[in-house]
């Protein structure tokens, strides 16, 4: 079954759009099916029961029952390969 991945930023406008597309591509390259949800960080609560992973550029102090990966590297390019590896590991679990 496709894993549900939440992609969240503060406004849900700028950064999550870029990250969403990067993850889409990453999944395609690795033949993985993902159910991507691009949301605002404040909306994560609505998905706690269904999500498998949260990838976000916003800061979050809330504890979730799924892993949280910081996606800032998709915007700066510095360290992006490590972030991709982390995401892939979660998707392949």
């Amino acid at each position: 079954m496709a894993k549900q991945v939440l992609v969240a930023c503060g406004a849900g406008i700028a950064t999550s759009t870029v990250v969403n597309s990067a993850i889409e591509e990453l999944a395609k390259e690795n033949n993985l099916k993902v159910d991507l949800k691009q949301i605002k960080i404040a909306e994560v609560g609505a998905y706690v029961d269904t999500a498998d992973l949260l990838v976000t550029t916003a800061m979050t102090k809330t504890e979730y029952p799924f892993p949280v990966i910081n996606a800032r590297t998709f915007l700066t390019g510095i360290g992006v390969e490590d972030t991709k590896k982390q995401i892939l590991e979660e998707l392949q679990k």
């Binding site: 930023c9 503060g10 406004a11 849900g12 406008i13 700028a14 950064t15 759009t17 870029v18 597309s21 691009q38 960080i41 976000t56 550029t57 916003a58 800061m59 102090k61 910081n70 996606a71 800032r72 998709f74 915007l75 700066t76 390019g77 510095i78």
Partner: protein, 162 residues
Amino acid sequence: MSELFFNESVILLDVEGDNKEEVLATISNNLVERGLVKESFVPAIIKREGEFATGLPTAGVSVAIPHTDVEHVNKKTISIAVLKNPVDFVIMGDDSETTPVQLVFMLAMDEAHSQLSLLQKLMQVFQEEDTLKYLVNQKDKTKIKSLLEEKLDFVALKGGER
């Protein structure tokens, strides 16, 4: 999708401020004066930056991409500000760590989720140290405009000048 407004009037050089709030107010007030955003854009963008920081420690020159909700925007634009002295912005995704920002790209977007190619190109620029250094040191607004039009492929996004 509406056209993107971009010319020298939204490019600001030698912007001064003691802190990020002053810098954000200067840049956003310019957009208000030009009718591109509503007056509510100014407090909204300052508040959003406080809640969700947008500083990015990019290659060579740190940048920030402040943005806020679409309802404060009249006309889609990107305002570029070169700061006279670096100003600390909190790093995106962090709660206290800051980065000394020299270039601010203020995004005034009028639709959510519709700017993908533009944003991707912008992020590409953030990964080009030479381009960022050129922008920081350039004193000619028209040259900044031309470079960004080329890098961000604005021609495809907008019609004529206004």
